[in-house]
């Protein structure tokens, strides 16, 4: 059994020219927890996600997914990863089912197994009836649900969500936040959720606060409140993200 953390980041640095986007970032996340990566716009969350998904090369430091170094064992590392990007990445001209089968094929899942898993995931997200509809016909909330189903199709040990609720109405947001937290509580998957929306945090979540490329705080909600001396997460967040 693999006992490595689902995600381990050690001393990662990244710059856009002279502008430093990430400065000595290190943390670990394990299955069974929903970890919220908090940070204002421009904190470095998207850059960090691009490094974790190998969209950008890591110039210094080490990123391991499920114990596999993203630079040395890229394919093995990416196989452990499910991701929902901030911008929708579904093919609008294909149906929900076709999009999911395409993803399954990229992960080497056979047609039969893929069909069974597609039904299972869509059932959980209440999207089974809409699987033959083109993605173009779905609203933002339903597209997000399809993307979550897609990210879980190959049974990853780590789920990355990059501000997945941006632009959604309150019921869609609530249902997605609730679903992902329930998923993390099953203990089989680690969730890293990048957000700047404080109300998406549950009391038993872990927090990582990123500001101007540096980690300002990590730990449970209570631990962060204690460290900052703030009564609420909102206040702690403002305290941690002020100044340089």
């Amino acid at each position: 059994m693999n006992t490595s953390p689902a995600l381990s980041i050690t001393d990662v640095n990244f710059s856009y020219g002279a502008k430093k986007a990430l400065d000595g970032v290190s943390f670990e996340i394990n299955p069974g927890h929903c970890t919220m990566l908090l940070g204002p716009n421009g904190a470095g969350k998207c850059t960090l996600f691009s490094l974790m998904t190998r969209l950008y090369d890591t110039p210094s430091g080490r990123i391991e997914l499920g114990g596999h170094d993203i630079k040395q064992e890229t394919c093995k590392a990416l196989a452990t990863l499910g991701i929902v990007f901030q911008q929708t990445t579904l093919d609008l001209d294909l149906t929900v089912q076709q999009n999911l089968r395409y993803h399954a094929a990229l992960h080497g899942i056979s047609g039969k197994v893929a069909d069974a898993r597609i039904l299972e995931e869509l059932e959980r997200l209440g999207m089974v009836e809409r699987r033959f509809e083109k993605v173009r016909q779905l609203n933002g909330g339903h597209r997000r649900r399809v993307e979550i189903a897609r990210a879980l199709l190959h049974k990853p040990s780590l789920l990355l969500l990059d501000e997945p609720t941006v632009g959604l109405d309150v019921p869609s947001r609530t249902s997605i936040v609730d679903y992902v937290h329930r998923l993390a509580n099953t203990g089989n998957i680690a969730v890293l959720w990048a957000s700047h929306l404080i109300d998406e945090i549950y009391p038993d979540d872990r927090l990582i606060v990123l500001h101007k490329g540096k980690i300002r705080a990590t730990g449970s909600v209570d631990a962060v409140l204690q460290t900052t001396g703030a009564p609420q997460i909102k206040d702690a967040f403002f305290k941690l993200t002020q100044g340089d």
Binding site: F85, Q87, T88, Q98, R101
Partner: protein
């Protein structure tokens, strides 16, 4: 990761390109309209105006429609290569390229699969075009329809690769139409000059010399090299 994984992924990518092509009816129709206009309208017009001399490997006079058909096949593949390139730029802008790039497959394999998928789609278009041409009484012996496949694969890969190269330089979708014209239009002239030189020097590519391409229209009524000239 094993061979089966690669195989499934390649079929997945090819299937996606094919589905996109077939479901986007406008794209499917417009891909065929261009060569068909050349075949039905221009060729019919030039047929009366242009007299075609007996020119090796032809042993007799041929109709202009027959003369132009291999060139139109080249045109279909050329435009499909550009379309694949546009599709890459679109995928990058719309974000669906990301889902491909974060899949657990090497980048070279993803590029190769994209290239093969585009080539497959272009060959499909060529055969639909040939079926319409057949109905228009441009007939080839049945073996010819098989012998052309390797040539179509090679030319499809080459033109698709040019398209992929272009897509790596074009960052915005808006720029694409201009660049596409900029690339395609001058292609006709160097080709025309090259053909003239080859004819003058009696140089022919190995495939033409070996007769593999000519056997497409097996009665040797068409020389593909010469037939590119009118396009």
């Amino acid at each position: 990761m094993n061979i089966l994984h690669f195989w499934r992924a390649m079929w997945g990518i090819t299937g996606r390109e094919l589905r996109r092509f077939v479901t986007q009816r406008e794209r499917f129709i417009s891909a065929l309209v261009r060569p068909l206009i050349w075949l039905f309208v221009f060729a019919a017009g030039f047929r009366a105006a242009l007299g075609l001399a007996i020119n090796p490997p032809y042993q007799t006079y041929i109709l202009y429609e027959v003369y132009i058909t291999p060139g139109l096949i080249g045109m279909i593949q050329l435009f499909n290569g550009m379309q694949s390139s546009l599709s890459m730029v679109y995928d990058r802008e719309m974000g669906s390229m990301r889902s491909l790039l974060v899949s657990p497959l090497p980048r070279w394999f993803l590029l190769l699969s994209k290239l093969l998928a585009g080539t497959f789609v272009s060959i499909l278009q060529v055969y639909v075009f040939l079926a319409i041409a057949w109905a228009y009484k441009i007939h080839a012996p049945w073996q010819g329809y098989l012998y052309i496949i390797p040539a179509l694969i090679l030319s499809g890969l080459m033109l698709g690769a040019v398209g992929l190269l272009l897509s790596s330089f074009i960052k915005q979708l808006e720029n694409f139409a201009g660049v596409m014209n900029f690339v395609i239009f001058p292609m006709f002239f160097p080709l025309d000059r090259a053909l003239s030189f080859m004819e003058a020097e009696r140089i022919k590519p190995a495939a033409v010399q070996s007769g593999k391409i000519q056997s497409f229209f097996a009665s040797r009524r068409i020389d593909p090299l010469c037939s590119l000239r009118p396009i």
